[in-house]
Subunit: 346 residues, 2 copies
């Protein structure tokens, strides 16, 4: 059986050159590719949303990290949700929605590896489920609740606090009864954290050194430091750590574009003096725990305890420009690209 | 009751100036001090051994650490064992041996806070018990066995491996069935680790960059990195860490003399990519666990599975020069000062 109703070509982003430092207009290139016929077990997906995540930049790096690096000539990789429009795989019938990891493409063929069928959640639009529940909310839940185990009355600091993960971390820490301080760039983002998300305080790293801001906002020290940025922010967290503090390393976006490979952390000595536990994680290791996490998270969303913003950029051709926003703080909320309409095309 | 049989004065080391960088001849000063009469609950101790430990330098630093800093005019602090020669404290009768934390003195009066009675261990001389069991062996046991939980077949790296703690860490890791690599300074120390203590390999940081040496000695990466030194060594450990590695921060002797307060660790990103857990500790937090640790450690010593060397310097007047050896790697084994004879004086 060959593809009958779908297109014969796909638009697909490829790695054009390994970036040195910041992403540029020539890091990736969008090309048309022929779509091959389906083999047994495969299906054809029409992409709806592509998730943009800080770790995308890591995948483009040639230093040794947690995935095979994407090299020039490789298709760019990302989280997507799309509609199955042709199928030779019973687990993914035509008309179902598939969520998983594949190429940045408007159409693609897969055998279902790294994909699951989107089950649908009452009251939660596809955009919201995909934007929040695919990466951000499980990441926040695993890192904060499972790893850091915040206790009522403790002080929790989160960096990139207005970002997709950070905003959820702060709100989950409030649910856990903690005092919550966010670090973000700009007065608008800081006001959003305090006024709309209920953070107790926010530090604007664009207006003052992070250490000074956190010293003022955390008079009793930091019990849990949830790090999405690294560098100066992480060093400030170690400096102000309380006895027995937990430092969760979720992301180090400040160093991903940095060829020097120096994350700029000085205050390692406090690992001893403050009896700190520092731990890193990759959420892909915990996909099998998602059902358990969803049980906790979905009611919080339904009850309005977890708010979020989606930053949706239209058009696959704008995916590279959109990704750059992540590293300049130019996004407001979870960044994703709408590649195709949610409604099935005629 | 006043002191009748003891001396009326004590020789005692005081802080003379807060060191900037390395210890100097004027950092501490030895003075005669009058010994006051005993009050109810107090006893007079004749010091026998003083333990010299890397953390002594930390106590002299004015940055915020885990103990009140020692300032000019304060008596210098250390672990000691001595004979009770006068007592108004039933728990420490005359003739008993007291182990604890006090001033660097040949005689001192205490109410027993931070002291315990030395119980005596069959077959283990006082010098050995004090040198090994007061700090070094519980530190090695807690950090390696309790925190890192090494598994058979894993690769364990320990720095300052010929030091008091490091040598025991390596041997305990061998008992646990691990491949053990030590980092030490000089061919003699490295030969000692491999030939006498049974390490699988040793890296001489004086003859090559630590990263290069560890890359060669740890072809399968590092599962447990036990850090006593910090800086370049810790960065190398993070660089070569295996998935799920545990990094135990026991000491950072390379930075204790460093006013810049930069511990020189760059490879923080591997906390994420290798899913590393890094944790610091202070053994003083676990004094109540010592009986349990001793149950495991003493049989190993009796069976000859844990070897150690004592580096004993004679005379309280040489204590400052002896302490300097710790920071130049000039000691061979557990460094201690013999202040008085083990046998009771007439």
């Amino acid at each position: 059986m060959s593809v009958t109703s779908g297109p014969k070509t796909a638009r697909r982003w490829f790695v054009n050159e390994t970036p040195k430092g910041d992403l540029t207009d020539t890091t990736l290139a969008l090309r048309d590719e022929p779509l091959r016929d389906l083999e047994a077990g495969e299906f054809l997906v029409r992409s709806i949303y592509l998730s943009l995540d800080a770790t995308n930049r890591v995948w483009l790096s040639t230093f040794d990290h947690y995935m095979p690096p994407l090299l020039p000539g490789d298709p760019m990789r990302g989280f997507l949700v799309g509609e199955v429009i042709e199928s030779r795989n019973e687990a993914f019938p035509t008309g179902s929605l598939a969520v998983g990891i594949h190429t940045w493409s408007d159409y693609f063929v897969t055998d279902g590896t790294d994909f699951s069928v989107y089950p649908g959640v009452d009251g939660l639009p596809l955009s919201d489920f995909f934007g929040v529940m695919t990466v951000a909310a499980p990441t926040a839940y695993h890192g904060l609740i499972e790893m850091a185990k915040p206790q009522p009355g403790e002080t929790v600091v989160v960096t990139a606090a207005a970002g997709a993960v950070g905003a959820l971390v702060g709100q989950m820490a409030k649910i856990a009864g903690c005092r919550v301080v966010g670090v973000a760039g700009g007065t608008d983002k800081c006001a959003y954290l305090v006024n709309e998300l209920g953070f107790d305080a926010a530090v604007d790293y664009k207006s003052e050194p992070i250490l000074e801001g956190l010293e003022r906002a955390c008079p009793d020290g930091i019990d849990v430091h949830f790090e999405n940025v690294g560098g100066e922010a992480l060093d400030a967290g170690l400096t102000l750590a309380s006895q027995g503090a937990r430092v969760i390393i979720c992301g180090l976006i400040s160093s991903y574009n940095n060829d020097v490979q120096d994350d700029g952390v000085k205050m390692i000595r406090n690992m001893i003096f403050r009896r700190i536990r520092m731990e890193g994680f990759v959420i892909l290791d915990y996909l099998d725990q998602y059902p358990r996490y969803y049980e906790a998270i979905l009611p919080w969303i339904a009850e309005g305890k977890l708010k979020y913003r989606l930053h949706v950029v239209d058009g696959i051709e704008n995916a590279l420009d959109a990704l750059k926003l992540l590293y300049t703080g130019g996004n407001n909320g979870k960044l994703m690209v709408r590649i195709g309409d949610e409604a099935v095309r005629a």
